[in-house]
């Protein structure tokens, strides 16, 4: 069930082979949805779901897919899953779906998906593919949550919408940093995380 290879498929993307920090995939959406924690976590869950299921489906189909149209087949599977996620969100979490607006649709173009389908699911059986999908999705979600934590805390003084910086700080002249809400600070935050991550993992450093 959890052989060494399967463990690697699941745990590597969390840190050593993190899709955002090491492979630098999916940066665009990581910047866009991290102004606060709630959309970040919904986006993370959506990506995990889409990635895990598309990996499994493609893995089941991998022996039947004609080589010439394999990218199209992958796209159709991903697009179908994304539309399902989007419809479910509109039905059950309308406010978040409004906040995420185009970015749910843009999961289709998230490089992590096509990358994992092409690199892993096309050559591996369903169970490792599922683990690989969940692992990569989690790796992406972790980065999203770290970025969103700092952006929401410093930008709005709240976490998950709850005020955490006490009112007397504001009374004594503390102000939320409006820049944290804007995309440039998301990029800088991601940059800082990559910096810390590489400083701790020497084998990732390039010369």
């Amino acid at each position: 069930m959890l052989s060494k290879k399967n463990k690697e498929a699941f745990f590597n993307p969390l840190s050593k082979d993190n899709p955002v920090l090491v492979q630098i995939l999916g940066i665009c959406s990581a910047l866009a949805v991290t102004a606060s924690l709630e959309p970040a976590i919904v986006m993370g869950i959506s990506v995990i779901a889409v990635l895990a299921f598309s990996n499994v489906i493609i893995s089941f189909l991998r022996k039947t897919v004609p080589t010439n149209i394999r990218i199209i087949v992958q796209l159709v599977v991903v697009a179908a899953l994304v539309i399902i996620v989007q419809q479910i969100l509109i039905a059950y979490n309308y406010d978040v779906s409004k906040k995420l607006s185009v970015f749910i649709g843009l999961i289709i173009t998230n490089c992590i998906l096509m990358g994992r389908l092409e690199a892993f699911a096309m050559h591996n059986s369903p169970w490792p593919s599922f683990l690989d999908g969940v692992g990569n999705g989690l790796g992406y979600t972790i980065v999203l949550l770290i970025v969103a934590f700092f952006r929401e805390l410093l930008g709005s003084g709240s976490l998950f919408g709850f005020q955490v910086i006490p009112q007397w700080c504001y009374d004594h002249g503390y102000m939320d940093n409006g820049l944290m809400i804007l995309p440039p600070m998301a990029l800088i935050t991601v940059g800082c995380i990559i910096w810390v991550h590489r400083a701790r993992n020497k084998e990732l450093q390039e010369n």
């Binding site: 039947t64 004609p66 010439n68 087949v73 159709v76 399902i84 509109i90 309308y94």
Partner: protein
Amino acid sequence: MNKNSNTYQILYAAVMVLLVGTLLAFIYMALKPKQNENIANDTRKQILSALHIASPDDSQVKEVYEKYVIQDLLVDAEGNIVDSAANVAFNVDMKKNVKLAERQLPIMKCKTDDGSIKYVLPVYGAGLWGPIWGYIAVNDDGNTIYGANFSHEGETPGLGARITEQSFQDLFVDKHLFVDGDFKSVAVLKKGQKATNGAEQIDALTGATITSRGVSDMMADCMAPYEAFLKKMHGTEAPAAAENETNDNQPE
């Protein structure tokens, strides 16, 4: 079987598309009622926001909405009430309500906590990337704007999308729709510009010229047909007279 033969590829693609299409259609149908309910609740929240009422929890939106909105009206270009059945204004699809000649003129008559009557007029227009819409609450003098709420489908975040911010919407408060007895919708103009027709104006959003112009045009285009209705309240007749007329025309 040869996986790379044309027949196999075409068949594979066709079957796949058919399966996926059926699946999506089924899911869409299954979730539609729930989605429509969410969209309706969102609209209710927007209307409440134009009345400066903080949006309640999803489970209570309908209740709160029905507490404040006391009557739905449809009026004609002469300002006469043609219909006042329940939810008749709420159910008008503004997307399809564009052609001036065939336009229905919905109004939500509302009563705020202090007992004063407000009229909420829906407006619908074009922004830079897609439709924008909003709800304008007017005092019962038919002249002063009480509150406004704007929404959009896909305006640029940080620029045009700022029409949804409270600070922008609050600029409309206390502006007048009639200048010297003539109807002149509130204009949205860059600082330093003056409305050519003498209308009251507010500052446009920096970096969102086209969305700002869209709001301005939307207000002018959608509020103008109500001129007669508003004038009845605003003009020579006292608000009370307009009230009576409203009641006279009720079908119940």
